[in-house]
Subunit: 262 residues, 2 copies
DNA sequence: CGATGTATTGACCAGCTTCAAGTAACGTGG
DNA sequence: CCACGTTACTTGAAGCTGGTCAATACATCG
C-alpha cells in the first residue's frame, strides 16, 4: 500500500521510513476511533519520539524493567503477560492496533508485566513523561487517558469473570468473540467471514489459564462442532457468531463506543 | 469516637450528622495517602454531594444500572462483582476505605459491574460528572484519577494471575497477604497481629473463582497448618506473613506507594 | 538433513465440583 | 425465654474437568 503525499509539516516531522504524522494516522480515520481535535493532535505529535518495528517474540517491555516506555500499537499483535517465580505464565491481555501500551508501568516503580510482540508489529513511541504531559497540556487528553485506563480495567474484569466462572470452552468462545469485535473495526483483519488469527495454542492456553493440552482439546471441540473454521494457519472464520456469544454467556451484540486514540 | 472541633469553614460545609470537610478527612492524614494541595481539596470539596451510610448487603451500584454515581469509600468494606446470565457470580475486587468507586461505570453506558456493601459502610458521594470536572479544573487531579484507574488495572492483573495460574491455597494466600497490606495502612484494622476480616466463605469462594465447598477446604487447610488463626468471627491473625507471601509466590515485601485520595 | 518448535493425541491421575446432609449461630415472634 | 426459620459453616462421597506425561506427526529453518 502506497502512502499518500505528505503535507509540508508532515514531511518535516516524519523522520523514519514510512512514518507519518499523527494528523494523517491511518487508524484515526477509522470509525472505531475518535477523530481528535487539531490542538489535541498537536500535543500528541509533540510527545511522539518516533516509530519502531519489532518481530514476533521481541519485547516492548521487559517484565520487571525499571524505565519502560509508552507506545501506541499501530499494526500487528502483542500481549501483556505476568509470570510466577516458578515459571507459570499468564497472558493478561492481547493488544491490537490502537491500543495504548505502558500506562500501568508509569504508575509504579518497576514494570509489573511484560509486553511482547506476537507478530511483526509497528508502534509509536512516546516520551516517558507523556502521561503527565497529556494531562498538563490539555484536560481533554488527560480525560482520554483516564478513559483508556478505565476501559482496560473493564476488559480485565471480563477476563477475571472468564477465568473464575467460565468453563474451558466458554472461555475460548468469549475470547474469540471479543477478538472478532475488536478486529472488525480495523482494516484487513476481518474480511467476509475471514479473521486474522496468529495465536498459537501455547498463547491461547496462557490466556485461558489452562494447560496446553486442555486448551488444545477445547479448541478442537469448537472446530469439530463447527463454531470455528480454520481457513489457513493464520486465519479463521466464525460462522454463527451470535450463537457463539451466547455459548460464552456474552451479551449480543457487544456494547461498543468510539475510543480515543493517543 | 468523638469528632474534633471543626473550623468555621468546615462547619459550614458539613451538612449531615458527623460529616466532615475534605480538608479534615481522617483518611487524608494517614501515611498511605497523599496529603493533597489546598487547591486540590477545594475542587474535591466542590464536587462532593454528601455522605451516605449503608448496611451490609445494600447496593451502591446495581449491576446494569444506567446512571450510577461516584463514591469514595470512607469506612467499611464493599466489593465489585459481575454475574453470568445463569447466576454464576464472580467478585472482581474488594473495596476498602480510600478506594474510589464507579470510575469504570462513568466510561460506559450501563454499569458493567455491581458494587455491594459487605459491612456497614460510610461513603462520600460525588457529582456524576466529577471525573471530567477533576480533569478540567486541575490537571494534577486528572492525573490522580488516571493513577487510580491504572492502579486498579494492576490489581486486576494480579487477580487474573491468581485465577489463571495459582492453585486454590495459593490464591487464598495471595488474597490474605494483599488484604493485610492494604489494611495495615488504615486505623483500627490491623492491631498487634489481629486483622479485621468480615468476609464469608461464600464471598471468598466468589473471589477465588471456586465452589463454596472447595474454598472452605482451602481455608481450613490454611488454618490447620497454622497460616491463619481465627481470633473471633470477624478477626484473624496471620503469623508467618512473609512465608505466606512466599507460598502465594508473591514478592516480599509487597511494593507500595502513597496513593492519591479523591 | 538434523534441529527446533508447534500441533496433536492418548492414558492416567489430581484438583475441583456437585450433591447431600448435618451442625452451629442468629434473629424474630410468641 | 424458647421455638422456629434462616443463614452460614462444615464435611463426606462420587464424579467430572482439567493437569501431567509421553509419544507422534508436522512444519520451518539454517
Amino acid at each position: 500500500m502506497k502512502n499518500p503525499p505528505l503535507a509540508p509539516l508532515d514531511r518535516r516531522l516524519a523522520r523514519l521510513q514510512g512514518e507519518r504524522a499523527c494528523a494523517s494516522c491511518p487508524l484515526r480515520s477509522l470509525p472505531g476511533f475518535e477523530a481528535g481535535k487539531p490542538e489535541e493532535l498537536d500535543v500528541i505529535q509533540g510527545l511522539k519520539l518516533g516509530e519502531l518495528q519489532l518481530s514476533a517474540g521481541e519485547a516492548l517491555i521487559q517484565e520487571g524493567a525499571m524505565d519502560s516506555a509508552l507506545f501506541t500499537l499501530l499494526d500487528g499483535w502483542a500481549c501483556r503477560y505476568r509470570s510466577l517465580q516458578d515459571g507459570r505464565r499468564q497472558i493478561l491481555s492481547f493488544l491490537l492496533p490502537g491500543d495504548f501500551i505502558g500506562l500501568q508501568q508509569r504508575m509504579t516503580d518497576a514494570a509489573v508485566h511484560g509486553v511482547v510482540a506476537l507478530t511483526t508489529l509497528r508502534a509509536c513511541r512516546f516520551k516517558r513523561d507523556a502521561v503527565w504531559a497529556l494531562h498538563r497540556e490539555l484536560p481533554s487528553l488527560g480525560y482520554d487517558v483516564t478513559w483508556l485506563a478505565a476501559r482496560e480495567g473493564v476488559d480485565g474484569d471480563e477476563h477475571v469473570l472468564s477465568l473464575g466462572r467460565r468453563s474451558a470452552t466458554e472461555r475460548l468462545a468469549a475470547l474469540l468473540v471479543e477478538l472478532h469485535e475488536r478486529l472488525k473495526g480495523l482494516p484487513r483483519h476481518v474480511e467476509q467471514e475471514g479473521m486474522e488469527f496468529p495465536l498459537s495454542q501455547r498463547q491461547l492456553a496462557d490466556w485461558m489459564g489452562l494447560s496446553l493440552a486442555h486448551a488444545h482439546r477445547s479448541w478442537r471441540q469448537l472446530v469439530r462442532q463447527g463454531w470455528v473454521q480454520v481457513l489457513s494457519p493464520q486465519r479463521i472464520a466464525l460462522p454463527r457468531l451470535p450463537e457463539l456469544a451466547a455459548l460464552a454467556h456474552l451479551p449480543w451484540p457487544l456494547p461498543s463506543a468510539p475510543r480515543p486514540l493517543i
